[in-house]
Symmetry: C2
Subunit: 358 residues, 2 copies
């Protein structure tokens, strides 16, 4: 953490140019001096809801950990617009990293949060986005323990970029490895597809679409933990289908385990609004990003249990078994059995269908 | 890690638009599909020198850790220009985070590396910057174990922004806490001031200055480890004086321990070239950023040993005792005893003297 978290000196408190007295971020807020301290003390830490205990941060935070396996992950968030129906960059940055830990079987222990702010960003908006991040962290049961703040010129960044990294404790029952996925294993999806990508895209399209769609952005650890507890080694793989959607996740899984797989269109949970929006925007729901869904591969006789476990949660109440893993194959093809009884190849998206949705 | 690290499918390898065949980054390289996989497989991982073992990355990396205290830190790097005398954003991003761990007494165990790339960045340049990051990581004895890649439009970011986070194992002998710093404790600095900030600024000034100055950007863990080993509890505080320079570090320390302190100008190690550059650019060497220096507060009778330990290292061969901690004081004033015998107040830099030097 290169930003000091010291208390501002009384002398500084008397100046008229405290961050709270200014409407927007200035380059000087990133200089590492008094103004940075004030921004941290008066805006960032309170908005995140960070307790006094954590304000004694030095260059690094200190964690007491049990011996064992830790998971470690990071993501940078560049979503535009910064706020969208159902979420914003603050909530997304927390949930995204919590979920990357969760699908690796890890309970989130601590997060870092690093801001690259464009000068001119309204401080009221920054505060709102960080309050949202703080709420998401509390919901996920994890604390932001270290961070960093940089400010760049107006032309050098788009409003705000947030990076989070996370450390998690891997559940002792976790035996998650794509190479353990075998013939007959069942693919389970925790809920309807595409809500995050479409909510962001609808907001941005300029089409004035009233899509009645909210991002699904939410922390997945409770669902992942329940699956781990109840299925043990019968749970073989989890992933959150974000960029590239379910299509990218399944093609990757297929390549990793060296097996074909098929999914059934009729069994894929989907919302009417998402289907309509995808049709209007010319997108394939299978390739659209999700931020609060997980897909799992489970042993055949654990499939019903997996669906039942997920349905206990609000976030998983539309969970369904959506397909099955096939025999070993060089081709590692993923096929969609359509409602009409046809077969369609599910392909890894090539490039960018939805830029900057996360 | 939201970027897949799977091998590209053979079919994709046959296309003519592989990243290696294109001179610059495109938005589609950040889409999470085939092009992202290819960029990762053919450019990013090889440039970082990441071994095949690590290519099996899932959404999070897995670390086996001993029970105990871990340190966790993050920084985003927005330095302009991306390359400067003595370093570049890749090397800086590794060293900066390693050093934040080191001054907290932690041996670096693992790093994350997250890229936000502007479309249009030359792939050859990206490769060069990542090769530099890979070399710095090997020099520091740490591996990049997880990461993320996003691509933003040409107007939305300035070439490249790098975030690193780091996890480290806190040395059992570490008892580093500003509140342990007491009257008579000695301040020790590992080498001459200001080289990083001035090297970057000289490169950017447009003055055509030939400053004969290299950034000091380097990993500090070997120095920190030796101090911990040899001084034990007599080592009370370490910090790397980056943004805000030595001035910000000492004012913060003074506030944290509630004591005044004084440093002696005559004992401050400084290079002639840095002094000249600071004079030309109108900067105070005390406020200029360093990226390969540490300042420590040690018990009075450990001061000579601390200097001797640091001088064993190339990076510390000009280490010196530079000052002393005073009595408790509400004011917590840091004073500079000038060569001429006068006293000058050392102040926390207020805003931004050198934007985007890290």
């Amino acid at each position: 953490m290169s930003v000091s978290s010291q208390q501002s000196a009384p002398s500084a408190k008397c100046r008229g140019d405290r961050p709270v007295d200014q409407p927007t971020i200035q380059l000087a807020h990133g200089g590492g001096g008094e103004l940075t301290s004030q921004l941290l003390e008066e805006v960032i830490l309170p908005a995140l809801g960070i307790s006094r205990r954590l304000r004694d941060l030095a260059d690094a935070a200190s964690l007491d950990v049990p011996a064992g396996r830790l998971a470690f992950t990071t993501d940078s968030y560049v979503v535009q617009p910064l706020e969208f129906p159902g979420g914003d960059i603050g909530k997304l940055a927390i949930c995204g990293t919590v979920n990357d830990l969760a699908v690796c079987g890890a309970r989130p222990l601590a997060l870092s949060l690093s801001l690259v702010i464009q000068e001119g960003l309204e401080i009221a908006r920054l505060r709102r986005l960080l309050e949202s991040a703080g709420r998401a962290a509390r919901q996920a049961g994890v604390e932001v323990v270290t961070g960093d703040t940089k400010v760049v010129e107006r032309t050098a960044c788009d409003g705000l970029i947030v990076n989070t990294a996370g450390v998690g404790e891997v559940h002792p029952a976790a035996q998650l490895d794509a190479r353990r996925v075998g013939e007959g294993d069942v693919l389970v999806l925790s809920g309807p597809l595409g809500e995050h990508g479409l909510a962001v895209m609808g907001q941005r399209s300029g089409l004035g679409l009233s899509l009645d769609l909210l991002s699904d952005c939410a922390p997945l650890w409770p669902l992942a933990a329940a699956l781990l507890e109840e299925l043990g080694s019968q749970l073989k793989f989890m992933r959150d289908p974000t960029r590239g959607g379910l299509a990218a996740t399944l093609v990757e899984l297929s390549r990793s385990c060296g097996r074909g797989m098929e999914i059934r269109e009729a069994d894929l949970p989907a919302n009417r609004a998402a289907q309509a929006a995808a049709a209007i925007l010319g997108l394939d729901l299978l390739s659209v990003a999700n931020e609060g869904k997980l897909v799992a591969a489970v042993a055949p006789d654990a499939a019903d249990r997996a669906v039942a476990v997920l349905r206990r949660f609000d976030l998983g109440r539309r969970a369904a078994a959506i397909g099955r893993v096939g025999a070993p194959s060089e081709e590692a093809v993923v096929e969609l059995l359509t409602r009409a009884g046809g077969r369609r190849l599910v392909q890894m998206p090539y490039g960018e269908e939805l830029p900057r949705i996360c």
